[in-house]
Amino acid sequence: MTLEPSKLFAKYVDGTISPEEFSVLDERLSKDPNLREEFLEYMRVCVVIEDNAPIFEAQKEGLLELPPLNKPKPSKLIQFAKWSVATAACATIALTLWTFYPKKTPAESAITAQVIDLKDVEDQPFEVGDKIGLNELQIASGWVRLELPKGVVFDMYGPAKGEFVSDQRFRLDSGRLNVDVGPLGKGFTVVTDSAEIVDLGTEFGVEIGDDSEAKVAVFSGEVEVHSNKEVKNPRLLTQGEGVQVASNGKSSRLMSINIADQDKISDSSAIFADNINIRDDFTTDESLRYYGILSGGLREGVHSYTTHPTVRWKSDADQEFPTELQGADLIQTFYKDRLERDLNISLDVKNPSKVYVIFDERYPTPEWLSENFTETDMVVRSGPWRPVMIVQDILPDNQGYFYVRYKVWSKDLSPGETLNMGESRVPESEGRLFRAMYGIAVRENVQQFAQANTEN
């Protein structure tokens, strides 16, 4: 009996194909270009499933705090520090209210979107998976993820309000949203009172502030920000960069953004407590990068840097992630800062806190660190790294991946006190050595934490 070709594809990828069937497959593919195209498409399904399987496995084992595939990924959520307390209060008292306005007129004024996920929404008139026509979109609280035409993934966080002017253009009146545009939705534009943000194939977030200023942060790819004052001179932002455009059209660097796990969005205790103020001495003209603050987010597998897509904080080999660091507020730095000379990062806190600097253990310790901080016995790693110069003197593990080991240094910091941190690079006098950029973490209420641990 001769199997139909697609069943031979299946047997080939499942590893159950017999030598005879394999010969038949080879012969048929050799003769039929259409069948070869079908085969290449079938193999692409396998690539997608194989790519997603390890993520699924890690989620199942709790290694990643990622929700399942149809749940929100831990995408970035802009929660600017000065708004966080107010946002928490709103989230607590707001009555959940959804208004998906019906089409004003037939299809030309509405776009079709699919509801991919929802969270903390009561009485919603639709379910995950529904296709809806919408133009205006208003959320009093909660969170919605929509898939728009051309694969644009659109996350809106209540309270927020806006309107789809077309399937490629959204006017944001208030609140915040994240857009993951993907390769096909290039050109998607978010319009605000003070600026237009044009996507060039990327993931970015926009939030409207108290004074109608637009805060824009790019998580990957590039966007152009056209402020109302500088229409002919748009500002190009790339991954890890952010600006705020005031209502008068003036734009300036966004120093830090809060990044939170989607799972914690309605949990007021997880709203960032506005404790950390971090800055450096680069001006808007010199740099537009932002520091990412992940409230309570330090743990195994969390991204180490705002700008590196693959490198994550990990426990030391065959060890647990240090308990003392677990759940501390993580400040994601800029991994290219490892090359900066005379880097000066300043940090202060509103509540008594312990600050941790996670520093590449290789080569000499800089004075700014050894003189102000105490070395702990905690060790963590970052990785996996590609074979870049940072890992030139490190052997790969048995999977072929490279990991950098870091020692953890700590210092108590009181309100009103400013902590200065310096450069990561190795002095030229030591030779041509490449050190990874350090990480920073902050834990407030250290005594409560220590007490709880003792009781446990």
């Binding site: 990828v13 499942d14 085969f39 690539v47 699924f56 694969g151």
Partner: protein, 189 residues
């Protein structure tokens, strides 16, 4: 090699990596071999990056648009990957299911030629996978994790092994169908 070359390489490679992996996977029968070949490709690309830079002086002089640089790099990376697959074929041809030289050549060329379409299809497939009912999606992904044996999953789901494989095949076909429909109807063109 200058230190900024390493940063450039990292950026270029990261952007091309999914394409390289998918391209390699189309040409070899199992994921493990595909991963090994993709890793070897990465090492070769890194070692020979200076040659790429020398051959593209306009790249050094920053005369190319970013997209053009990525396109040049991707083409070069796919050529290197093709050689790595050939090298793997030489070593493994005797003990694995390896397509004939003629078919291999046809598939390599056509995979490269159709990459823009396959890339769009892959994107749509990701979306279709997310739309699968959760129980089916979980079972499918579970079947692809290293620790699960198909026989155990078949038993757990009350199917024979053969029926389980057929079920996976039907899901894969439905994903292709969904992705093609998506490309056709949602103005992906």
């Amino acid at each position: 090699m200058q230190s900024h070359d390493h940063e450039d390489f990292l950026q270029l490679y990261s952007a091309s990596e999914p394409t390289i992996r998918a391209f390699v996977r189309s040409l070899v029968p199992n994921q493990r071999d595909a991963s090994e070949i993709a890793q070897n490709t990465a090492v070769v690309l890194w070692r020979r990056f200076h040659v790429f830079v020398e051959k593209h002086p306009e790249y050094k002089a920053a005369e190319l648009e970013v997209e053009d640089i990525h396109a040049h790099f991707k083409r070069w990376a796919m050529t290197v990957a093709r050689y790595e697959v050939l090298s793997w074929r030489r070593d493994k041809a005797r003990d694995r299911h390896v397509f004939s030289d003629t078919l291999h050549e046809m598939l390599s060329s056509e995979a490269e030629e159709k990459e823009p379409h396959l890339e769009k299809l892959q994107y749509a497939l990701e979306s279709c996978l997310k739309k699968l009912p959760q129980d089916r999606r979980d079972l499918l992904l579970e079947a692809y994790t290293a620790r699960n044996k198909p026989q155990e999953l078949a038993t757990r789901t009350g199917k024979t092994l053969n029926a389980f494989y057929q079920w996976m095949h039907r899901i894969r076909l439905s994903l292709v169908k969904c992705a093609k429909r998506t490309l056709a109807t949602e103005s992906y063109q």
